[in-house]
């Protein structure tokens, strides 16, 4: 026992090394471990973002060698462009309606899958059915819904059969309906992620809380309001903020269904930026638009990080 204690308290051999060298080596070790991640972050995140920010203050970038400093000209151009303002408005509608609908649908389906009223097999079947939209890639979703929403497609056929419409509705081609149509598609494709996360949250709520509430004579709605929602609050806030960020970056779905049309009715910040860069070759204004989107997204990210810290 005494020998064990002696070995435990014995001074380490490296103490014999010069103190300065030891300190330096010890300091460098963590950086060695961190270096792969640090280099990847710098190469893949910091440098590209810095380049985009620098492009946004220059003119003739990328396409010409003689790019010049343009100050805030690109930002002025973008912020006074009616198409950009339309894109901001459309994006705001698209992401807010999508997020609220994702939340409501996700919570409703999650509660249904968590209810003791359904048997295990029934729940498993519904679980598979509900999660299906999430398993399709965006390209497949776009193709499916383009076919379904075609003026002579299945949706119109069914609505017509039930007498809801008299003639084929042009869901994606009518400027008054296109934004709602693509929002609907996005809701359909995105709610399962909410559902799964909220289901996990629901399953983590202790049954004691519901039992105590029942003893207090509460009804279903009161239990939902005073037990379920407060318990799910951290999950709901995290999911909502993340969904706002992800939906604001939605590009593929819009591009493959409407391309931002008709008449800019579904123009989003993502499609606007893409057109500036790859159609007009205006990489400077595209960069300015991208920086504005980055700033808007950072506001959401700030709330997300703050909420995570609070947890």
């Amino acid at each position: 026992m005494s020998s064990l204690i002696a070995s435990q308290v014995a001074p380490p051999v490296e103490q014999a090394a010069p103190p300065k060298r030891k300190t330096l080596a010890r300091r460098l070790i963590p950086y060695g471990y961190l270096s792969p991640t640090a280099i990847l972050i710098v190469v893949l995140m910091v440098i590209p973002i810095a380049m985009v920010i620098s492009y946004s203050f220059r003119d003739n970038v990328i396409v010409q060698d003689n790019s010049v400093f343009a100050g805030l000209a690109n930002y002025t151009k973008v912020l006074t462009d009616a198409d950009f303002l339309t894109a901001i408005k459309n994006t705001a509608v698209f992401i807010s309606v999508s997020t609220v609908a994702h939340l409501v649908l996700g919570l409703a389906f999650a509660m249904m899958l968590n209810t003791p009223l359904l048997g295990g097999v029934t729940k498993a079947i519904f679980r598979i059915v509900y999660i299906l939209p999430w398993l399709f890639t965006i390209a497949v979703i776009a193709v499916i819904w383009r076919l379904l929403l075609d003026p002579s497609g299945v949706v119109n056929y069914v609505l017509h059969a039930f007498g809801a419409i008299q003639q084929g509705v042009n869901w994606l081609g009518d400027p008054g309906k296109a934004l709602w149509a693509v929002t609907f598609i996005n809701i359909w494709s995105g709610y399962p992620f909410f559902m799964i996360s909220l289901l996990a949250g629901l399953q983590g709520i202790p049954g004691d809380l519901y039992e105590a509430a029942a003893v207090d004579g509460t009804n279903w709605f009161q239990r939902f309001r005073h037990v379920t929602l407060p318990q799910l609050r951290p999950v709901i806030i995290s999911m909502a903020v993340l969904d706002l960020i992800w939906t604001s970056q939605q590009f593929a779905l819009i591009w493959m269904t409407t391309g931002g049309g008709p008449l800019h009715a579904t123009e989003m910040l993502s499609t606007y930026t893409y057109k500036q860069a790859f159609s007009e070759y205006e990489f400077a204004t595209a960069s300015a638009a991208a920086v504005i989107v980055l700033l808007l997204t950072m506001v959401l990210a700030f709330f997300y990080v703050r909420q995570q810290r609070e947890r």
Partner: protein, 429 residues
């Protein structure tokens, strides 16, 4: 034990750092593939052609070249059209284009202005190449930057069954006949309409293929001395004509977001009686709907027009990177693809028309419609004024948006053309 653990930590830490630096260095020094070693040259050729040809066919053509030129190797970078476009735009911006590039006429001006693709006129002179055998060249400022290797024309496709059912005896050759036929087909009821007009703004080439084609078919032009001329009577008559088709209810619904593939699908399913489309889709239509009876014809012209009819086309063009170290070898490969026999073979398997005037595609095993289309092509002239224009996709999109305003009665034809003219003038004025 503690000493060993500390040493181990240090060693691992140091190794990780070294490995990371080595990895980063390796990333930084990676070659673009434009490598020459031991007298051999490897040329990278980025294109979308391989993805559109029957599997392995393009490799055979390339292998024949490498067999004839053992010191030149060709590395094919085949990807779908959209991916190739993005890859080349990025490559042009960063001056890292592959040695040889497949080009669409819509990109040439921008790439040439960026200095990303080279002047091939000089290479032709250096190689004593006779350009008179070429069907066309895309030139900017008198210098050739792209040579069309295979051309795909866009004739009028007509569903013969629908036309017969509608009581139209002959394929329309004038605008009046077309409107009349379209009305009669639409009167058949159900989901059937006379014509499909894809105006999706994501890929706005409907303006080129389905709208401006009416102008070119009557010998008209949207340019004057290289400048936009959209407020001419000829262009106005086209927009008014398209509006009249729309007002008559003969255009398939959903045209404002309709894509080219939707148009082909509707024609294939018998939902539209007529469309202007690439000849390359004949096999696709026949594969998906073997019983569909259709024919191809020249585009209808203005009533009374007797001149030659322009027929829109798209090309598999080819260009050479300005940054390649092997321009002579790259041009050798280009001239091989444009040689009489190779070009004929490539055109045949692509169901297109050759870029070499002396090449004769073999219609022996092809659908007879290709022969008909070739006759139409030879009787008229290939017309596509968007080829070689700067930001041509953007020009199409701005015209598209104005046309959509006209079709939705939100702008008059004159106002729309005025705004389109203004928009175009800011790009090519």
């Amino acid at each position: 034990m503690a000493v060993r653990a500390t040493r181990l930590k240090r060693v691992i830490g140091a190794m990780t750092a070294v490995a990371t630096v080595a990895f980063a260095a390796a990333c930084g020094s990676s070659d673009s593939g434009d490598a020459a070693s031991g007298g051999n040259v490897t040329l990278e050729f980025a294109q979308w052609w391989g993805a559109e040809l029957p599997a392995g066919e393009f490799d055979k053509i390339v292998n024949d070249f490498t067999a004839q030129n053992p010191n030149i190797k060709i590395k094919l970078l085949s990807a779908p059209y959209a991916s190739t476009k993005q890859q080349l735009i990025t490559g042009a911006a960063s001056k890292t284009l592959p040695d040889v590039v497949g080009l669409d006429g819509a990109w040439v001006n921008d790439f040439a202005k960026q200095g990303a693709i080279t002047d091939m006129s000089k290479l032709m002179t250096d190689a004593s190449y006779d350009p008179s055998q070429l069907a066309s060249q895309v030139q900017i400022g008198g210098k050739t930057y792209m040579i069309p290797v295979v051309n795909f024309v866009y004739p009028l496709f007509v569903n013969k069954d629908l036309l017969a059912k509608a009581g139209v005896a002959k394929t329309p050759t004038t605008r009046t006949e077309f409107l009349d036929a379209a009305k009669k087909i639409s009167a058949l009821g159900g989901d059937v309409k006379g014509w499909a007009l894809p105006l999706d703004t994501a890929v706005p080439n409907g303006v080129q293929n389905d709208v401006m084609s009416w102008l070119w078919a009557s010998g008209g032009s949207m340019l004057q001395d290289g400048k936009p001329a959209l407020q001419t009577p000829a262009v106005k008559s086209v927009v008014e004509y398209v509006k009249s088709l729309n007002d008559a209810g003969v255009i398939a619904p959903g045209s404002l977001t309709m894509k080219e593939q939707d148009k082909v699908e509707k024609f294939t399913n018998g939902q539209v009686g007529m469309m202007i489309d690439s000849l390359a889709h004949i096999n696709l239509i026949k594969k998906n709907q073997p019983n569909l009876k259709f024919e191809v014809a020249a585009l209808p012209a203005e009533d009374g027009y007797t001149g030659k009819r322009g027929i829109p086309y798209a090309s598999w063009g080819i260009g050479i990177s300005n940054s390649t170290k092997h321009k002579a070898e790259a041009f050798k490969f280009v001239s091989y693809l444009l040689s009489k026999d190779t070009n004929a073979k490539l055109s045949t398997i692509a169901n297109g028309f050759p870029g070499n005037k002396t090449a004769q595609p073999d219609f022996g095993d092809s659908d007879p419609l290709f022969k008909t289309a070739f006759d139409i092509y030879q009787q008229g002239y290939p017309a596509n004024e968007f080829v070689g224009l700067p930001k041509s996709e953007d020009l199409m999109r701005s015209f598209d948006e104005q046309l959509q305003l006209v079709l939705t009665n939100k702008a008059s034809v004159d106002d729309a053309l005025g705004k389109a003219q203004q928009s175009w003038s800011s790009v090519i004025g």
